[in-house]
């Protein structure tokens, strides 16, 4: 019998990574790493707390001969300051890619976000993967996300042996997810901008897990949006999740920024104000077609879950 292939999963403390590990551990030997904590994932998953930029990180590559990497570990803007985040997300990822080359890793999946497109009133709908990434034009707090993508794309074409697949999902939601918009769905009262209800897409965490596992296993390198072709206005989503909207003044924009700074809510960060105003609708058809992927959970399933929490 052929020995199980070994894969490295980063960001292991996150809900999504845990689900991915749980699904893949039958068929692969998994080594999990996270910068925040050593996650106990039970036998047979080996787990490390590690900083990608420290030399010790290479020891993990020396010890385990990885066949593939699933890079889900990304520090969000809510977590650390801009400088530390850039070091971890961009410089750290470069280190990861260089080690992957050095130790002959043949499959690499990188998790990005739809935020990289930027929320602009001039966005057409159904942005495809060739659309320029304009998030850093709007806020310095998303520079690391855009740079991480650019870096991945450079390595994707310069080092085809790494077989890099970049996934740009829409809002991931469901049990355990702690991103901005999922946090808002789970709260009893959620801030919305007066007079704005941007169209949004949500994908259930279980479907995102399946998307990651399918993309990793099929190994068709490239950049892919991951989103269902189902949409809802943000204020309607908040109501459908059983939350009450708190109307924040939307004009003039400086007042909105001042209110966001004053409130200092994790779920209403200044750098995401435009995402509360303008839609960023992505076209997930390339991924759906390439990987024969269709989400199983509906928007109603997602909102029913959040409603049940209240």
């Amino acid at each position: 019998m052929e020995p199980k292939k070994k894969i490295l999963v980063t960001g292991a403390a996150g809900a999504l990574a845990k689900k991915v590990i749980d699904k893949l551990k039958k068929d692969y030997k998994i080594v999990a790493v996270d910068f925040r904590t050593k996650v106990d994932l039970g036998i047979p998953v080996e787990s490390y707390k590690v900083d990608f930029n420290k030399r010790l990180f290479e020891d993990i590559f020396r010890e385990h001969h990885f066949d593939g990497i699933i890079h889900l570990g990304r520090i969000s803007a809510q977590e650390l300051n801009r400088f530390t985040r850039y070091n971890a997300n961009v410089i750290g990822t470069r280190k990861l890619f260089d080690l992957a080359r050095k130790y002959n890793v043949s499959k690499t999946l990188v998790m990005s976000t739809y935020f990289v497109y930027g929320a602009s009133p001039y966005n057409p709908s159904l942005l495809d993967e060739t659309t320029p990434l304009k998030a850093s034009e709007l806020t310095m707090d998303l520079v690391d996300s855009v740079e991480l993508e650019n870096l991945s794309t450079i390595y994707l074409y310069k080092h085809p042996e790494l077989n890099i697949t970049v996934l740009r999902p829409c809002n991931i939601a469901g049990p355990g997810v702690r991103n901005t918009f999922s946090m808002l769905l789970s709260e009893k009262r959620s801030p919305v901008l007066w007079g704005f209800s941007p169209l949004m897409q949500f994908i259930h965490i279980d479907d995102m897990r399946d998307a990651i596992c399918t993309a990793f296993e099929k190994n068709i390198p490239g950049v892919y949006n991951v989103a269902p072709d189902d949409y809802i206005g943000f204020q309607d989503a908040i109501k459908a999740a059983g939350s009450s909207p708190i109307q924040i003044p939307s004009i003039p924009p400086r007042l909105t920024e001042a209110v966001a700074k004053f409130l200092n809510w994790k779920s209403f960060p200044v750098y995401l104000i435009n995402y509360f105003k303008y839609p960023v609708i992505i076209d997930g058809s390339l991924f759906a077609k390439t990987f024969n992927f269709k989400p199983k959970k509906t928007l109603s399933d997602i909102f029913t879950y959040y409603k049940s929490l209240k």
Partner: protein, 283 residues
Amino acid sequence: MAKTKQNIISKIFNDNSIQDYVNVFPNRVGSQGFDAWGFNIKNMKNNMRLTKYMYEDFYKVETVGLENIPKEGRCLIIPNHSGQLPFDGMLVGYSLLTNPNGARAPKAMVERFLPTVPFIGNWLSSVGAVIGDPINCERMLDNEEAIIVFPEGVRGSNKLYKQRYQLQRFGSGFMHLAMKHNAPIIPAGIVGMEETIRSYADIKPLAKLLGMPVAPLVVPFIFPSKVFIYFGKPIYFKNDVHKESDIKDRVDTVKAAIDDLLQQGLARREEYQREQKEKNKKV
């Protein structure tokens, strides 16, 4: 007065006849009733009740040439633009939706700044307005939708009252799209909207301050005015042009067709006004 207002509101909100048209709404909406451009069935139903009142009772719209609208498949409806607010688009949309020859639920391309205006941006997209980006238009043509495009943009809708019925400069984007996607162009002339909201000046410093393309000085009143919409025969253009100057000639062809429809509409309005005067004399 209060009773009349109540009667109008009650008429608008208790009108369930619009249910007959719901089946022509785009079938590409998802589980929550939204499509990818923010069109929303629930809002559209409510809006249709209001538009029906505007179309039938307030503007008493008379349409000519509805048989020229293709019953199915991609097409571009190209009217003149007027009236400061996008009511002309709503009336054209409603006439297509209630077309006895074959109902269509059209989309309308709108100014790019509109999504930045609270409430208005959301409301417009929920009733079928889409920002005027060629990528949006291309995708909708590929979906075989009927799309209303105003090539004059704000130059037309926000022109001064003294410029009424003078067609402003046309953008050429619609022609490129029509040729590339093999979509027929249906020219349309709208008469009557120019008189409803009258602008006497454009306060440019205020527009700059508000970040808007125009800040019209208007009489804050919607004047009642009978509206005439004339649809012309479909015009087809082959995708065989190599120079931008040839495109301009083709745009001018469409512009001339719209001008011709406007003249027909204006003549019909004069005739209508004469008929009304004679009727009043008899009474």
